[in-house]
Symmetry: C2
Subunit: 328 residues, 2 copies
């Protein structure tokens, strides 16, 4: 058995330390009845024994070097341990924006060279699994337990699979807290990653960047040095935590905030995301779910940006709506 | 000449005193070229010599008693000098709302009795001019200078006339600051009214009630005792002022805030509003006008209320959008 809760080798002292409390995420066998219940309620759960990506458990650096293909892959470079995502399409009209990481295109061989000869910079390969990968990797991909995920997709009425992202990260790399607008089965293949999750109810404590920002959906709060004067409700934040090892599959519900770190001094980590569109709601019921409220907040920001044609006018207008009128 | 700037009899010491500075509104002949320029730019102006409602200058209490008709008219009763408008349709789901005035239905004879035997309560007749009025009043109405207002409507591309409201108020009555979503020619017939106007740019200083409130479009600020802790930007408010006498017509542009007071110890005041729908915009240009921004703010509030189905959820959601994200 390649996965399961036994045989997990990591040093719990190699986690980064943060200011907030966390509670563990349940870790359950895929046939356990609570697993379905949690997913149906859009609560995170580590699912064991799915055999979802058993054919990829052998995807170490040597194997990927041989089979990932000789094309150019997307690799991010950072001067810190943090790889905060930004949307390049949203940079265009923001000359003042300084990208915190650089997007590079390089072969896997070049990436491997960066990993083996570490300098001051850190690297993180984030490449969609598409038809540029080599034939053996395609076979491994086709050997994924599609029966399992297709069944989950049907059962929970998710939309189509949109992409699989392959992540190859240096030990200590951190993907700071953000939320995605898709359902995610996060399959850990090599090494250990700690994931911190926060429910969408904590939207007000995590201060996502404005919608027009390249950092849309990312928290503005630096977990290493939270600015509590600017972000006072970060004090209220409470997380859920889990350490994922090879064979583990974490269900990251849509709109749940997540922070992902490859363990410090661990080996290189390899993971694959399975992203699905959310389901459609047949009949709207009241009160709305928190997920629906986050969607509404995003729509308000989008419509306002669309109407004003100028991000700089959003703050004064929103303040005029709220101040002295909808303050708590 | 029934109107014009001469022959204006009122005691300037009979105005109520407020905390903010005001500057006078221009007072111009209807043929003065600046009059058109001001209206085209949606700036307030007192227009003289329009002869708009000359046939109504004789509408004193005796005349109205005889000709307004024997039907029931809408009369507001207030325990204070303030008659703050509220929308009865929006009270239904707000059991905690206490109306600041009572809406009564009474004949003009009954209203006249209230005026002639004053008690502690104040009264304000606000009756749409419709087909319930007597024949002589209809003739007076048909004798208004419709050529003049139709020409203005055409010139400034306004929509249709929606209503004429007849206002008969006791001396000292105040209609607190609010804005309307229509263009208004405010014709003064009897007695003197002071009008204070504030441009739509001061939306953020005047703190309109939330959209779901029966007091939607009314300022939350009590001009007699402004709560500067709750409404700090009221300190920034700067008004425009004018005293209207018989024959004067004030153009109150759409979205301009206005506060109207019948002079203390003056005679009973009689006025008629001419409300027109705003024009439609052919081509949206950027940056948007402040009027367009106020319309957008109203739409955001409306859509949010529509989406949430619960006014109580609006404040927390709007605060989550703004705080630490779009604060200034
Ligand atoms: Zn993510
Ligand atoms: Zn008004």
């Amino acid at each position: 058995m390649a996965s399961g809760s036994g045989d997990r080798k990591y040093d719990p002292n190699k986690f980064r330390k943060y200011t907030f409390d966390t509670e563990p995420i349940p870790r359950l066998h895929c046939y356990h009845p609570d697993t379905d219940r949690l997913i149906a309620n859009e609560r995170p759960v580590v699912i064991t024994d799915t055999h979802l990506a058993d054919t990829a458990l052998k995807w170490d650096l040597e194997y990927l070097a041989k089979h990932l293909g000789s094309g150019q892959h997307t690799v991010y470079r950072s001067k810190t341990h943090k790889f905060k995502y930004y949307d390049e399409k949203k940079i265009k009209n923001l000359p003042s924006f300084t990208p915190p990481t650089q997007v590079l295109r390089m072969t896997f061989a070049e990436f491997l060279d960066k990993l083996r000869n570490p300098g001051k910079d850190r690297y993180y390969l984030q490449q969609a699994l598409n038809d540029t990968v080599g034939k053996q990797l395609v076979l491994d991909y086709l050997g994924f337990n599609w029966d399992y995920v297709n069944e989950q997709q049907r059962k929970f009425k998710w939309g189509p699979l949109t992409s699989n992202l392959l992540l190859v990260g240096m030990p200590g790399n951190v993907t700071p807290a953000h939320y995605d607008e898709q359902q995610n089965f996060f399959a850990q293949l090599r090494g250990y990653k700690r994931v911190l999750l926060f429910p969408p109810e904590q939207f007000g404590c995590l201060y996502s960047h404005p919608i027009h920002s390249p950092h849309d959906r990312q928290s503005q709060v630096d977990f290493d040095a939270p600015d509590l004067a600017r972000f006072p409700r970060f004090r209220e934040v409470r997380g859920h935590k889990v350490v994922l090892g090879p064979g583990d599959v974490l269900y990251i519900p849509m709109y749940w905030w997540h922070h992902v770190e490859s363990l410090v001094d661990s080996e290189v980590t390899v993971s694959v995301n399975f992203w699905y569109k959310g389901g459609t709601v047949d009949k709207i019921e009241y009160p709305l779910s928190i997920q629906q409220k986050v969607a509404i907040m995003r729509n308000i920001e989008k419509m306002l940006l669309e109407a004003l044609h100028d991000p700089d006018q959003m703050a004064p207008l929103l303040c005029d709506i709220v101040k002295g009128r909808y303050d708590l």
